[in-house]
Symmetry: C2
Amino acid sequence: MDCDILVIGAGVLGLSSAYHMKRRDPYKKIIVIDKYSGPGQGNSAKSEGGFRNIFTSETNYLLADTSIDAFTELEERGHDVKLEFIGYLWLFSSRQYEAIKPAIEAIVKRGDSVRVLSLDELKEAVPCLVTEFGGDEEAELLGLEDVAVGVLGKKCGSLDTDALTRAYEAEFLKLGGEIMYNTEAKRLLLKPVEELGIPGEPFVWQETRIVGAETIKGAINAGKTVVACGVWASRLLDPVGLDSYMRPKKRQLFAFKDPKLEPLFKVRGLNSHGSVPLTILPKAKVLFRSELSEGSIWLGCADDLGRKFELEEDPQAEENYYTDNVYHVLVKYFPCFGDVRPMNMWAGQYAINSLDETPVVYEAHGMYYVGAASGSGIMKADALGRILDALVAGEEYAELHGGRRFRVADLGVRHRHVEHEKFVI
Amino acid sequence: MDCDILVIGAGVLGLSSAYHMKRRDPYKKIIVIDKYSGPGQGNSAKSEGGFRNIFTSETNYLLADTSIDAFTELEERGHDVKLEFIGYLWLFSSRQYEAIKPAIEAIVKRGDSVRVLSLDELKEAVPCLVTEFGGDEEAELLGLEDVAVGVLGKKCGSLDTDALTRAYEAEFLKLGGEIMYNTEAKRLLLKPVEELGIPGEPFVWQETRIVGAETIKGAINAGKTVVACGVWASRLLDPVGLDSYMRPKKRQLFAFKDPKLEPLFKVRGLNSHGSVPLTILPKAKVLFRSELSEGSIWLGCADDLGRKFELEEDPQAEENYYTDNVYHVLVKYFPCFGDVRPMNMWAGQYAINSLDETPVVYEAHGMYYVGAASGSGIMKADALGRILDALVAGEEYAELHGGRRFRVADLGVRHRHVEHEKFVI
């Protein structure tokens, strides 16, 4: 056996998992492999980099809230993760707010730092926001409703996903972990527990297990094999008939830097930077945030119906997706975007679990899977790494950052127990 | 609009659904399309044709039990479905039986016709079965345990899937339903609810719906679109970003007819034919049954780990899968198979929902899906057709055959409620 544990994927989930496993037992030989030349170069690198603890699902809340605390600690330990608590700001029409009100009240009750802003408070805080569309025929055509309420999550903001991934990489390496980059896994190794040396093994009557992976640099035999390679997981799992419980879907990001957008950095009282929070429009799932490091705005749109499921090796952003689709809605709420063109754009892929939009962590025949994070894997990375570690260690409960406990099987398959999330973006 | 409801797929699920919808409202224009030249020529035709009401999950039980009653009624109405109550016979080692005993007791409590056979009763009923392997080194190598108990389900047996599919087709046509064969759906039609006639529609800010399908014979516009095309569903759903909640997996069948197999037609007291029930071996998920119409034996093996997920257009049975894998186990329990070669073999594909192995029926944006039946779609076809019909009609509950009620959302996505099945083959 070449190692105790092989981790396939050096994205944020793979490295967080590797770190927590190594922390549990530094004497275990753990090897992380990745097809790219460095950490987090798959979809971790392409994320919006938003984080929030505002979820109605207790599961999602626990996963994100404890991970945010863990990221804060990483900063305290000297990793420049660029955690910026700029907040998340949901804009709602009064109709939408009525529907979501009970959920928000439950979140407030949980003790989270949420602030509900009246229309006047909203206007005061974000003067460049248009809230009324009376008489605007184009707005009517677009189906826009007047903005009535803002909901601000304070333990929310942005981080540098690349730095976060490198922080877990550094901590893992510090404990003696090994990483092999440029080492793509071609297939999982499947072997009978008791090998007979007969051609044709494994046979259906043999107990069979996943025992590592064949890579482009040769076989790596492992006691346990962790699959943490995001949207690429199905490439490894499908051939052995195991499910990844996710489908890949493209998500595009557009970055803007323009003097016209100055008002978005002159917001009042929502965060300590005076910059616009990660703001979710009431229409078309358009969202954007300030990126403080470069004084820019990053914008995305969580389109759903009509956006295909497909594994793409190199997904591309489509400029006309912004100009023909998003722009028309955006500019109504925030006229400062008028005639501003993206200075940069890119696309990544979400690994969407459309059953309950919650990550999946399960074991089957020596294969340990963490994935299907549905676009929120980064902000939950610390908790997911701990849960994967607990599963590998055979523990019933994982201890999340700060000591909160989490039943490992809740994210599994057979005894899955997760709540329906009402705060989906 | 060309029709009120378009059903894609003239397999048993599509035709059962179409029939029940047409029965609810004969004035609705319902068109069924299929890429093949006749009914049930996809995977319906390739099934083992077994049916059972023996499930631990209440959901599975209700779906199958009421469907079996419905099939019986179809026979009474003159459809020669070839329903044969030959029974299902599970063979267990004492270790296995101890583990499954509570489940069997619960099933017995439910009032189902289950008979538990002691070792002596089993030997008496199936004299050609070997139950003890003491001293047999090969059996030890194969990991075989002595057989200790048999569990016989009586409301179980075999049917002619082709005839069943044709029965639903005939009933649907009798009510004035329309079917277009040789009419492959190429893609689902996606349109804004309020079309503006602007190039580039639908835009992200428009409310969008599935309104039929583009077929090789042109577009068919429909008020509601039912996707019931089994493993091919993802071909239509993936491009619009909707999930089929299933992965295709090959299942092979081998048919045998040989004088050596005579003992399998001289079984005592298990069914009225004196033929071997659908018998599930304690090892390797090997199962076979008597096919009374041709005096043959049909054998399959539900291999799992190592059998890839992949949509195959024309899956093929592999003779060496039988000879190198299944045969060695089979012949230990039933030596009468010694040196008997398959006279025929074929393969189909299961649409496996590996989350809970229970069918999925859900609606999204005018698309109504029934599928992911995980290999038990035929035996549940009547109930699934009724549940799909209730969903399309906007009913909260479906009335299953015999008047039993079923909450439609239980098979859905958001409020899914199904029990873990312990009696998986």
